[in-house]
């Protein structure tokens, strides 16, 4: 089954301490691994003030995960996250396509840039040659 790259960001409730957030992270990781997915990176942002209150929470702990998993698995992971206590909100988006697009753009621009520079250098050289 084809693996796709996903980015999952979730907010844990404010009354949870760091160890509890860690266990929560581990459970989410468990959801992904159960569905034949792998977690590539976990990034803890720590407690941050929310832009607006979500159910009496003025702040929340953010955890960002990058996971490789088949698309069908993500539906199940999302369902499980929805019923997990302690998760205020989460966002799971597929990023592989967008990243690929961005990379392609970057390489195209790199090529353009190098050719442009080369042509400028060429001109410079021609100019200097003419002056001498």
């Amino acid at each position: 089954m084809s693996q796709r790259q996903y980015e999952i960001l979730f907010i844990a409730e404010q009354n949870l301490g760091e160890p509890e957030v860690d266990t929560l992270t581990a459970t989410v990781k468990g959801f992904i691994e159960k569905e034949n997915g792998t977690v590539e990176k976990v990034e803890k942002w720590g407690k941050k003030r929310l832009a607006y209150t979500i159910g009496k929470n003025r702040e929340g702990s953010y955890v960002l995960m990058i996971a490789n998993a088949p698309g069908s698995a993500m539906a199940e992971v999302e369902r499980r996250m929805r019923v997990t206590d302690g998760i205020l909100r989460f966002l799971a988006i597929r990023i592989d396509a967008e990243m690929k697009k961005a990379d392609r753009k970057k390489t195209i621009r790199g090529k353009k840039e190098s050719t442009r520079r080369a042509s400028v250098r060429e001109k410079d050289r021609a100019f200097e040659g003419g002056a001498q």
């Binding site: 960001l9 907010i11 929310l50 832009a51 607006y52 979500i54 929340g60 953010y62 960002l64 909100r89 966002l91 988006i93 967008e98 990243m99 697009k101 961005a102 990379d103 753009k105 970057k106 621009r109």
Partner: protein, 109 residues
């Protein structure tokens, strides 16, 4: 044709009207500023994202997104920022995502 006449000759009240029915005022303004069809000059806005070479508009990058959010936190139309259509689309989705994750506000009171 207007190039032929000197601007000093053209009066405000339209004495210096050209053969084509062109009004003097218009000619005057043209000399002061820029010209063009519209009458007054609007600086062409360029897409910030394209010129700064942002390939992927990340919803987590609140610093970038906040540049596109005015005081009331509404997403403004393209004509306000001069972003190109693809970029505006990217910005829009990024803002919507960031709002959902409470990174930026939906509105401010």
């Amino acid at each position: 044709m207007s190039d032929m006449e000197t601007p000093e000759f053209r009066g405000r009240s339209g004495e210096g009207r050209g053969p084509g029915g062109e009004r003097g005022e218009r000619g005057e303004r043209k000399d002061k500023k820029e010209g063009g069809k519209g009458g007054f000059f609007r600086r062409r806005k360029t897409c910030k994202l394209c010129s700064e070479k942002v390939d992927y508009v990340d919803y987590k990058n609140t610093k970038l997104l906040l540049a596109f959010i005015p005081e009331r936190a509404k997403i403004l139309p393209r004509r306000m920022f001069g972003t190109c259509a693809p970029c505006q689309r990217k910005v829009r989705t990024a803002i919507l995502r960031a709002r959902q994750m409470a990174l930026i506000p939906y509105s401010t009171e």
